[in-house]
């Protein structure tokens, strides 16, 4: 139910209703971007960003820096526990 699918905003289709087209692994759909638009990010600035889509609404912007930080923590965990000898 709480399924969230990452996708990239490829174009804005309706500025007034904050609707954009999101590409989710090759499948595109019109998505409501109201919850990811704010004073810092205009509707036009959404093009190119990655969002998490739930029931047709973008609910959060994916943070690439945090994703990289998590992966580097995971790599570190792997290195610390390498089988030795």
């Amino acid at each position: 139910m709480c399924l969230g699918i990452p996708g990239k905003v490829i174009r804005i289709v309706d500025r007034e209703k904050s609707l954009g087209t999101v590409d989710m692994g090759g499948v595109t759909r019109t998505v409501n971007l109201l919850c990811v638009v704010d004073d810092q990010r205009s509707i036009d600035a959404c093009v190119g960003i990655w969002v998490l889509v739930h029931v047709g609404f973008a609910m959060q912007v994916l943070d690439e820096a945090e994703a990289k930080r998590t992966i580097s923590l995971l790599n570190e965990m792997g290195r610390n526990n390498e089988v030795r000898g």
């Binding site: 709480c2 990452p6 692994g25 990811v36 047709g56 690439e64 998590t70 965990m77």
Partner: protein, 404 residues
């Protein structure tokens, strides 16, 4: 796919599994008296079953499946009400696909559709609004279910209906909140004794493990994307349980387990966030504002298997009552008991494993479900059935530990 493949990497998973083994050697629990970690969300249950994660763990730690599947916690009476609404004249009833086959006391929405009711599956509440705009002569009802993840989409759709004055659009509201059932599970003395007086200082592993049946939680990632990480803090402190907000890929789940086990090993009980590529401490304030503008907590809400919980659901605020289906039509609202043979309640409380239920995979299958946990793709029973987990879990040989 970006943000998906990395978190399914077998190389990363192997390193994390070794870390789990190292931690479990330190904690020292056994299969007879294991550490039990509840994954709250049905999405997590699905990942664990699909990737067989629990068969990779050392015997001293177990996943326990929680109540975080909104379809599974719908009581039988709510389905009966939905069917009664759908069968009224001049109605188009729209719902998420998961709900179609959930059994009510006599039939399901799928059966109602077969009998001639106009029941349609939609992907988004905004799709239901579009159907209302295309069918002005009909009343279009959207069955609004789901946790805080889904409530903002319903709220924004109601606000859009108001803005565009789509007067023939209504919702049948059964949104629920995630904190009340967790508090109820923690309050239940069978599950977890409270840690009165222990919350202010760290305690050792053995003390922590004596505290009830559940020892830590993987908090639901996508609910937290909306509500943030702070709402779990009173639970972590009051009941002295670690909470880690977890992502949905297999490496996310394993890494979150490491974070819970580290807390247990060090006697900590804090809220941590593994899914920080999506979840911010404050959640999504714009989404929460929409929810609070349109909805208010209900006095009471019935949960399958858990019973009535105060302030555990959302209802439309008085100023948005005209969007409530019951402002336009009346149907008999009945309380209906769940089938006696079905053990969904105990499954949802983490008291029995799906395969322990008397009717699991015999009378109750996804084709002929008796309980809701077998219907929803995120239900624990469906996850076990679909991935062939029909009997007690067999653990695979452990990933090699450090060769010291």
């Amino acid at each position: 796919m970006k943000y998906v493949d990395d978190f399914r990497s077998p190389d990363l998973a192997t390193g994390v599994l070794r870390e789990i083994n190292v931690l479990m050697e330190r904690i020292g629990t056994t299969a007879e008296s294991p550490i039990r970690i509840m994954e709250v969300c049905g999405g997590h249950t699905h990942t664990i079953s699909k990737f067989g994660l629990d068969s990779l763990l050392p015997p001293g730690v177990q996943f326990v499946h929680g109540p975080g599947c909104p379809v599974c916690v719908l009581p039988t009476g709510a389905i009966d009400t939905a069917i009664a609404v759908a069968e009224q004249p001049n109605i188009i009833f729209t719902t998420f696909g998961d709900v179609m086959r959930v059994p009510g006391s006599e039939s399901s929405l799928a059966v109602a559709k077969a009998r001639g009711a106009d029941v349609r599956v939609v992907y988004a509440p905004s799709d239901a609004l579009a159907i209302a705009q295309q069918n002005p002569q009909k009343r279009v009802v959207f069955f609004a279910i789901g946790f805080e993840t889904t409530a903002p989409a319903t709220a924004l759709t109601v606000l859009q209906a108001e803005k565009e004055n789509v007067a023939n659009f209504s919702i049948l509201c059964h949104h629920v909140l995630v904190i009340p059932p967790l508090r109820a599970l923690l309050e239940d003395s069978k599950m977890c004794a409270t840690a009165e007086g222990l919350s202010t200082h760290s305690i050792n592993v053995q003390e922590s493990l004596k505290m009830g049946r559940l020892h830590g939680f993987l908090a639901p990632g996508h609910v937290s994307m909306v509500i943030g990480t702070k709402p779990y803090e009173p639970l972590a402190q009051t009941y002295h349980k670690p909470f880690v907000v977890a992502g949905f890929e297999p490496v996310d789940i394993l890494m979150s387990l490491v974070m819970v086990l580290r807390q247990i090993a060090n006697g900590r009980a804090e809220v941590e966030n593994q899914y920080n590529r999506v979840v911010r401490p404050d959640g999504n304030p714009a989404a929460m504002r929409a929810v609070l503008r349109v909805f208010t907590p209900t006095a009471n809400r019935e949960w399958r298997g858990i019973g009535n919980l105060p302030e555990s659901g959302l209802a439309l605020r008085p100023e948005y009552q005209q969007w409530d289906v019951f402002a336009h039509l009346t149907v008999p609202q009945r309380e209906a008991a769940d089938p006696k043979i079905c053990q969904c309640g105990q499954v949802l409380r983490g008291e029995v494993e799906p395969w322990e239920c008397k009717v699991f995979a015999t009378a109750c299958t996804p084709e002929t479900p008796i309980g809701a946990c077998m219907v929803s793709s995120e239900g624990a029973c469906a996850a076990y059935y679909n991935y062939g987990r029909l009997a007690p879990n067999k653990r695979l040989p452990l990933a090699p530990t450090m060769g010291r």
